[in-house]
C-alpha cells in the first residue's frame, strides 16, 4: 500500500531530513542492536531546538531571578547586580504573592475537578447513545475544543455581559456584573476553562472505553451493576493509565491559565483580585518592569510543576510501565 505513494517522495525527502543518506551496509542485522550514531543524528534537530529555546531560557530565568534587573538595566545600560535570594525575600514578604498563590492553587484544583468530572461523565454518556446524538455531542465538543482561548474568552464575557448578554436575561439577574466580584469573576473564568478543556478529557476517555473488551462491560451489566458501579469497579481501574494522563495534563494546563484570566478579567481583575501566578508574573515583568521579580515568580511556578511531574513519574513507574 505504501509502495504506490512512496516513489514520488524520494527526491524531496532526504534533503528535508537533514540526515545524509548513508550507503546501505548490506547487513540485515537489526538496527536496534547496532545503533551507532544514527539515533543521535535523528535526535539532533529536536535537541538543538529544545536546548536553545527551552533549557537555556530556564537557566536564564533562574539567573535573572537572582539579579537586580529592571528598566535601568534593560535599556539604561546600568550594570546588573547580584541579589542572592533578595528577590525571593521581597516576594515572600509580599502578602499579595501568598494571596495569588492560594488563588492559583484553589482555582486550578476547581478547574481540574470540574473538567475531569464532566469529561468522564460525558465519555460514559457517549457510550450509551446511538450514533446521531453521539455525533452531535462530539461535534459540539470539538467545536469548543477548537475555539482559541482568546475568542472563547471574549464570547463568554459577552454572553455574561450585564447589558447585552443573554445569560443575565434568562436567569433574571438584571444588570449583575460577573466580573465585578472576585468569586463571580473566578466562577465565570472557570466555566470558560471547563467549556474548552472538557472535550480533551471526554474524547480521550471515550477512546479508552472503546478499547475495553466488550465482554467485560457486558458481564458487569448482566450481573446487574449500575452505571456508576460499572464506572467505579470496571472502567476506572482499566482506564487508570489514561486517567492519570488526562489528570496530569489538566493540572498542568489549568495551573498555567493565562489568556482567559487576562482577557476576561481585564489583566487580573479589579485591584488584581483575579490574578493567578502566570498573569502576576507577566504584570510584574512587563507592566511594572520588575523583570527579576517576575522571573522569581516563574521559578516558583516551575518548581511547583516539577513537583507535580515527579509525582506523575512515580505513579507511572509504580504501574511498571516501560518508557
Amino acid at each position: 500500500m505504501t509502495a504506490n505513494t512512496a516513489p514520488a517522495k524520494v527526491p524531496a525527502v532526504p534533503g528535508a531530513s537533514g540526515a545524509p543518506a548513508r550507503p546501505p551496509r548490506r547487513r540485515p542485522a537489526s538496527p536496534a542492536r547496532r545503533p551507532g550514531w544514527t539515533p543521535w543524528l535523528y535526535l539532533l534537530p529536536a535537541l538543538v531546538l529544545l536546548g536553545g529555546l527551552l533549557v537555556y531560557p530556564i537557566y536564564q530565568l533562574g539567573l535573572i531571578s537572582f539579579l537586580e534587573y529592571t528598566q535601568a538595566q534593560v535599556s539604561g545600560g546600568e550594570p546588573t547586580t547580584f541579589q542572592g535570594f533578595g528577590n525571593y525575600a521581597t516576594l515572600f514578604r509580599d502578602s499579595q504573592f501568598w494571596q495569588v498563590l492560594l488563588a492559583t492553587v484553589v482555582f486550578a484544583a476547581a478547574c481540574v475537578l470540574a473538567t475531569l468530572f464532566v469529561g468522564c461523565a460525558l465519555a460514559v454518556l457517549l457510550t450509551r447513545v446511538r450514533a446521531l446524538p453521539r455525533l452531535a455531542l462530539m461535534m459540539a465538543a470539538l467545536g469548543a475544543w477548537a475555539t482559541p482561548a482568546i475568542t472563547g474568552s471574549t464570547v463568554w464575557v459577552f454572553l455574561f455581559d450585564p447589558d447585552f448578554g443573554p445569560v443575565n436575561k434568562v436567569l433574571g439577574l438584571g444588570d449583575f456584573s460577573w466580573t465585578y466580584g472576585r468569586w463571580s469573576a473566578f466562577a465565570l473564568v472557570l466555566l470558560e476553562v471547563l467549556w474548552c478543556s472538557f472535550p480533551f478529557v471526554m474524547v480521550t476517555v471515550y477512546a479508552g472505553i472503546r478499547a475495553i473488551p466488550t465482554e467485560v462491560l457486558e458481564a458487569a451489566s448482566l450481573d446487574g451493576a449500575s452505571q456508576w458501579r460499572i464506572w467505579r469497579s470496571v472502567m476506572a481501574p482499566m482506564l487508570r493509565p489514561i486517567l492519570i494522563v488526562v489528570t496530569i495534563q489538566s493540572v498542568i494546563w489549568d495551573f498555567k491559565v493565562f489568556t482567559q484570566i487576562y482577557v476576561m478579567t481585564n489583566g487580573g481583575g479589579i485591584a488584581g483580585q483575579n490574578l493567578v501566578l502566570n498573569v502576576y508574573a507577566y504584570q510584574k515583568a512587563f507592566a511594572s518592569s520588575q523583570y527579576s521579580l517576575g522571573s522569581a515568580i516563574g521559578v516558583v511556578m516551575l518548581v511547583i510543576l516539577l513537583a507535580v511531574t515527579l509525582v506523575y513519574l512515580r505513579l507511572v513507574r509504580r504501574q511498571g510501565e516501560e518508557l
Binding site: 505504501t2 512512496a6 517522495k9 527551552l54 535573572i64 446524538p133 470539538l142 436575561k169 516539577l306
Partner: protein, 282 residues
C-alpha cells in the same frame, strides 16, 4: 462496539441518555452559535438590551469593519504562516526524534524520554521573560521568527511523546524485511515508516496547530512595535475599548479567527479520536 451491546442490555435508560446528550450538545454549542449570530447582527440589535437568539436582518457590517481595519488580512496571513510552519517542521522533527527513541537502544535513551516528559511540564509562560531577552539579543523581536521558534520548541516534547506509540506500533519484522531487501535506513525511514506513522502525525499536529494559532502571550510580548508582524489575537484586541466595547466587531473577528481551527479539526477529527486512543494505549 462496546457501546452498542451495552445499549441492547439496558434499553429503558437509552432515550433519557440520548435526550441528555442532545441538550448538552446544544448547551456546549451555544457560545459558538451566539458568536456567529452576534457577528451577523446589525449594530442596533447588538446594542439592544433585549438579547434575542435570532436576527431578522443579518448584516455584514461587523465583518466589513473587521476587514477594513488596518492590515487585518496581513495579520491573518501572519497567523497562518506561523502556525503552518510550526505544524510542518515540528511534525518532521518530532517524527525523527520519536523514531530514534523507539526503534533504537542506546545509552541515555530512558533519560531522554524522561526529559521529554519533564519538558512538557515547563510553564512556557514563565519563560516569556528570558525568551524576550533572547529574541532581543538575536534581533528577532518584531519578526515572525520570534513566534515560530519558541512554539516549535514547545510543541516538540508533547509531539514526540505522542508519536512514540505510533512508531512503536510498526512491527519490527517490517523493518528487518526492508533491510534484507537492501533498503537503506533513510529509505526505510521516509518510504516505509513515514507513511505508516502519518495518521499519528496528523493527530499530533492538531495540538501544535492549536497552541500556535491561539497564542496570545508571545504575540503580545515579542511583537512590540512593528504591527505589520502582528498576528490575529492582536487584531481582536483593537475592538476592546475602555468604555464601550465594539461587540459586533469583536464577535466578527472572533468568528474569522475560529473558522480555520474548526476547518482543521473537521478535517482531522476521525484520525484524532483513533490517534488519541493509540497514543494513550501504549
Amino acid at each position: 462496539m462496546s457501546a452498542r451491546t451495552l445499549l441492547r442490555v439496558r434499553r429503558p435508560g437509552r432515550l433519557a441518555a440520548e435526550a441528555a446528550a442532545l441538550v448538552i450538545a446544544v448547551v456546549v454549542a451555544f457560545p459558538l452559535y451566539w458568536m456567529v449570530l452576534s457577528a451577523f447582527k446589525p449594530a442596533g440589535e447588538i446594542q439592544s438590551t433585549e438579547a434575542r437568539p435570532w436576527t431578522l436582518a443579518p448584516s455584514l457590517d461587523s465583518f466589513r469593519r473587521v476587514f477594513e481595519q488596518q492590515e487585518f488580512g496581513r495579520y491573518f496571513l501572519n497567523s497562518l504562516i506561523v502556525a503552518g510552519t510550526v505544524v510542518i517542521v515540528s511534525a518532521l522533527i518530532a517524527f525523527l526524534a520519536a523514531t530514534a527513541v523507539t526503534r533504537f537502544r542506546f545509552r541515555f535513551r530512558t533519560t531522554l524520554l524522561i526529559m521529554f516528559l519533564v519538558a512538557q511540564m515547563v510553564p512556557v509562560e514563565a519563560l516569556t521573560i528570558p525568551l524576550f531577552f533572547l529574541m532581543r539579543d538575536f534581533g528577532q523581536l518584531n519578526t515572525l521568527g520570534s513566534l515560530i521558534l519558541p512554539h516549535l520548541a514547545f510543541s516538540l516534547p508533547f509531539a514526540i511523546w505522542m508519536l512514540r506509540g505510533f512508531v512503536k506500533a510498526v512491527p519490527e519484522a517490517l523493518e528487518e524485511a526492508a533491510y534484507i531487501d537492501g533498503a537503506s535506513r533513510t529509505r526505510f525511514l521516509w518510504q516505509i515508516l513515514f507513511p505508516l506513522v502519518f495518521p499519528g502525525l496528523v493527530a499530533t499536529s492538531v495540538f501544535s496547530f492549536i497552541s500556535t494559532w491561539n497564542d496570545f502571550l508571545f504575540a503580545k510580548s515579542f511583537i512590540i512595535s512593528d504591527t505589520s508582524q502582528s498576528t490575529l489575537p492582536m487584531a481582536l484586541l483593537v475592538f476592546f475599548k475602555p468604555d464601550e466595547n465594539d461587540w459586533g466587531g469583536i464577535m466578527a473577528a472572533s468568528t474569522v479567527m475560529t473558522i480555520p481551527v474548526l476547518v482543521f479539526f473537521v478535517l482531522v477529527q476521525r484520525r484524532l479520536v483513533s490517534g488519541l486512543g493509540g497514543a494513550v494505549k501504549d
